[in-house]
Subunit: 249 residues, 4 copies
Amino acid sequence: MTEVQRNGGNWGRWGKDDERGAANFADAGCIKLASSLVRTGKVYSLAIPLQSENVPVLPPRSAPQHYMRMDGGDYAAGLKRKGGFQTSDDYIALGTHTTTHIDALAHVWYDDRLYNDFSANTVRSNGAKHCGIDKLRHLVGRGVLIDLCAHRNVPHLASGDIIKPEHLEECAKAQGTDIRQGDILLVRTGWMGVFKKDGREAFFKGEPGIGRDAAEWIGNKGVAAVGCDNWGVEVIRSRATFQARCTVG
Amino acid sequence: MTEVQRNGGNWGRWGKDDERGAANFADAGCIKLASSLVRTGKVYSLAIPLQSENVPVLPPRSAPQHYMRMDGGDYAAGLKRKGGFQTSDDYIALGTHTTTHIDALAHVWYDDRLYNDFSANTVRSNGAKHCGIDKLRHLVGRGVLIDLCAHRNVPHLASGDIIKPEHLEECAKAQGTDIRQGDILLVRTGWMGVFKKDGREAFFKGEPGIGRDAAEWIGNKGVAAVGCDNWGVEVIRSRATFQARCTVG
Amino acid sequence: MTEVQRNGGNWGRWGKDDERGAANFADAGCIKLASSLVRTGKVYSLAIPLQSENVPVLPPRSAPQHYMRMDGGDYAAGLKRKGGFQTSDDYIALGTHTTTHIDALAHVWYDDRLYNDFSANTVRSNGAKHCGIDKLRHLVGRGVLIDLCAHRNVPHLASGDIIKPEHLEECAKAQGTDIRQGDILLVRTGWMGVFKKDGREAFFKGEPGIGRDAAEWIGNKGVAAVGCDNWGVEVIRSRATFQARCTVG
Amino acid sequence: MTEVQRNGGNWGRWGKDDERGAANFADAGCIKLASSLVRTGKVYSLAIPLQSENVPVLPPRSAPQHYMRMDGGDYAAGLKRKGGFQTSDDYIALGTHTTTHIDALAHVWYDDRLYNDFSANTVRSNGAKHCGIDKLRHLVGRGVLIDLCAHRNVPHLASGDIIKPEHLEECAKAQGTDIRQGDILLVRTGWMGVFKKDGREAFFKGEPGIGRDAAEWIGNKGVAAVGCDNWGVEVIRSRATFQARCTVG
């Protein structure tokens, strides 16, 4: 067990068989409460388009691929179906981490132990027996946006900028937002703008993000999940340096 | 324009550029209202697992494929990473109609015209320029389950059983449910049970489902979308006979 | 080391770094000799078509998938390119053992040791470091067909029929064929006919094929490779029973 | 019919149903003759490795993908099979033009007419009905290397360099090589070295290659196929400029 796991982790909190981790915080009560807070009904998508080009893909992963099994061109070329009925059909192939996605708890771990002490030996070629994304089942709750870019009046934080607990607290306070147990916390770094402006290499060279202290702070708040507009959630000074990974789980 | 399109379709209703069709019924007001109706916060998944076996796949589509780019076995076999940090990564490849999914408006059409009179010539090998699933953007609303199996006290309707407007009305009435504009209508036929019990061939040989009258009735109700636990939504007596497709769009 | 490996294997024969195994028998001299034997120049394909349907695929592998990235239908639907130049492009996705193929030496092994004592721990999610198909480099030589069906005047051998050394010898003698070191030995069982006639389940329920004695006999002959028209080369009485695998390597 | 087709093409030469084009030149007689010319039996591979990185892939195609369905890591992680028998299995997904490959006659055409006047409307989402690579069946013959780099004593020709008939003739003469009907002509430009040295962008910016005159000259020689170590065979001054395509077919 790492220091982070000892201090801020949730191992055992929902029983030794639990495979959902912090997502459990977003329980029925939280969902009911979150539902009652809807004021306008407007929906905001947080997704990057699922496409082959102009999407950030970290090599050696390949970009999403999309192919048509049947399309309008086939009819234009002479295909006929009874009664004028026509149809198209398609196929996609993608790395699960190549576009907007949720990391399963089986995505990262330390020293052969997954969240809740499951063995990493159970993550084999046929998939994750434990803590796979199928175990998440659902993630619904109150979303809280901490918009650090707006707060600091910058287009994006700088690569290597460590987001600390006090930054999150200040920003939440300035926004008039509280962060509650069961929330889905969205931290805006503006880093996706670097991809759009400067391309893939600049985007993946490093990134601003939460540091270890913020990770523990977030863990202690009991948020159900953290979302971020950078590529790895946590601050990365250079591709070779990783810290403070996945303490929420 | 087919008779159905003339009678019950929504072409032009949201302007000539619209690509969302009936999903527009689930507007912000509906979403806000739907949110206010949440009583317990319990989440029900309607999804079939995303897996290669024991899922209904209509040939010549292939079953979903899942591969690990890196897994726990690699570490067990000797792979080392600094600081004990380990990770798994995966890849999926699937026909978009091989498991639980939402049909885009560009999935089916008559006589070279997509919903809202877009040309089917715009659906080419590089995807659907109009009415693709990307244009749906979101689908949130009040879900209404019409459980015909419970109402009739049968495990499933029979193949070829045509669901008519009066069946939906009676069942809704017996349940004490009303169907409103903007609702997401879920019709339970029990047909998935045939797949589980009798396998793929029996499942795809035909199916119970809504007939043309029910399709128009649903269209006139202004529901945002229809979901079903069979394979093609509408009744299909035999694989070669199709009727009453996609009048909601 | 298994008994077979001790008796008939080639470990160490081409040095401890060798990853080609018996393919080494088909050396330049054999290739030169084989070339000199060509009498008519007629080419016989031994391949099953690469297609999604009507090909034997052992679940849970998926059938080969083929998609067009661009095709004639796109031009029919209105795509224009300068000067009338048009092009099509495609994509395939397939399990490497779903159609006619050559097994790499890294495909099967006993007790964590690949051919030539390489560790099976070197076969990881990123591929086979040793004994992969890339190490074969080439396989050219004199092909010798042992046509047991013609010899026995049957459309196919029966499932579970064990092909023994004496069967190969008799058939070769009757054909007037000798089997030499470096040859590529093709044994015809007719079993593919069962797939064509009775379908996938009958085909994979079992198969006729070489037994352990024939495998050793073949190994001792120094043939470079063995090809067969069944699904697993060796006799398989039922899907659960395997014997005499891969002693040639 | 384009001017090139009129002057140097082979439409009709092997009958109106032919789908093999110039490959027909490499007939049984040529194959028999070619076989008799083998002097050492040494095999030279002309293939680029099939891998995801460090291979030239023209966007938006994706690089070849390779995944293990089962590997040695699974056994290291605890998977057990009876009798110590172990196996690995893999899956590949690739654009057919992303690595060393043979263009089918259905790959390029002018004005809706494939080789031999087949309609491009027959190349649809489900593949090429005519002139697909399956129709090639085989390509065996005498390979002739025209090594322009060795002849000019340069590591590679320059981008935009047009290879003319006289260049091929001079080089063949200097090498003491004749080019015969049915040969497989390999023209070495050295351009792959640019990919290795300067990377993908430099490689795809343009290329040296045969011009229209050489294409006609080659066509008139009756060679069965042309192979080249650049990306598009013909000279390309810039990505937007194409000339002299596919006159051999």
